[in-house]
Subunit: 278 residues, 2 copies
Amino acid sequence: MIGGIELGGTKCIVAVANNPLDIIEKKVIPTRDPKSTISDIVSFFNNFKISSLGVGSFGPLVINSESDDYGLLVAESKKGWKGVNIVEELSNINSNIILDTDVNAAALGEYRYGAGKLSETLVYVTVGTGIGVGILLDGRPHIGNFHLEIGHMLIPNSDNFRGVCEIHDNCWEGLASGPSMQTRWGIEASKLSESHEAWVKEADLLAIGLVNIISNHSPDKIILGGGVMNQKHLFPILRLKVKEIWNSYTPLDSLSQLISEPGLEDNSGIVGSLSLTL
Amino acid sequence: MIGGIELGGTKCIVAVANNPLDIIEKKVIPTRDPKSTISDIVSFFNNFKISSLGVGSFGPLVINSESDDYGLLVAESKKGWKGVNIVEELSNINSNIILDTDVNAAALGEYRYGAGKLSETLVYVTVGTGIGVGILLDGRPHIGNFHLEIGHMLIPNSDNFRGVCEIHDNCWEGLASGPSMQTRWGIEASKLSESHEAWVKEADLLAIGLVNIISNHSPDKIILGGGVMNQKHLFPILRLKVKEIWNSYTPLDSLSQLISEPGLEDNSGIVGSLSLTL
């Protein structure tokens, strides 16, 4: 039996499984302060004997397993969590922990079992509480020196709205995440009707970020998940806008092939976290 | 003996060498229309017997050697060159041609012999007639599906200047290349005094692009070359601005280590093109 944790800023999904697609038990735990959240996570696994534990976590955090700080959250992206070492805190569950970012884990889930099969340059984007991006090159995460933080790239904004990112104001996450929509329109994104102008603006901002990802990585597949992307009507607008902005500068595959919904629906993250153990 | 060609939008450098650092003869040919430029290139090599030919070329072009279109320039980034097949045109010189983008070649030169030795995630940026970026991961180019076109990512611009890119207007290249400086200030960049406000604006725009590269690739080394970067006073301002914008979100190496001048001065491109043959 293997264990998996998808540790997100809003909620945490824990699971035990025979293999990533054959989950035996799964639970959703709200992410609060580190102490009570981790205590709930540890309790869940007390009932199971697992051989290894895959963890996909929000960041930024140290994912280099050779570092003394392996597992350390280095910024206050979630209040109260800066300085917490995820690997240390979870070591009571199992000593064999494989840690990656939540978005690299989700990308891995989609690569193995979802919409990203055989993709050589696979991008997984989550648009929700924040914007995060995981990239797999031939199935292996593109990590660089620390890890990617593509949600924090700076993008143009055509109006005077001030983005909600506490670190960078008008980065992609600051301008186009769920909370930024709520601030901009004064109402939770999920409560906006499909015909609200908010969605065209949101598609604009998301398309600019995707064009920057195309220019930076030339992917053959971009999968978009997360709460905001549950608004499926965003996908066709997004494809049109990406095509319009890129302006045929280099050849792109058919946009409906290139820009895709997740194949695992809401399970990319937990299936991917379980896959980290393989 | 090996041959190398650095085919740029303004000039073309051709060379024969015993090895990339031991150049026997070198010549600079102005890049004009395809026919006369290629004729000059072929003439140069007529006098030498080479075993293989490395070509670093401006793009966008097909660099997948398994494609039927290997060598094809797919956009009019240089007037008159769209539709030219570089590999076909040069095949009379030698049948063993190894083609890559000019910036991947320059990155390779710096990785093997210059400021990028041992860098695991190496970024080479040229800022001149255009802005181009080559990235090596453990010494191998990050190509993706087509190749990267990071000069064409969209960046914020704080004033009403309209960028000069004919494809995307306000992309990084449109806002911060040499020609955009000339349009903005009405005078060639190389003729602006060091104290001119143009350089602070230029550093601003370059820093935004570098922050986006950091968020997209988490590099351990960014080397900046090209005509505009011959203004060495840009480097300290650039480092300060990158630090300011990134705002310690993730740990960065010392900025003077991270953001560096080329180790091969103006020879990164031709040394790298010769290195493609190895």
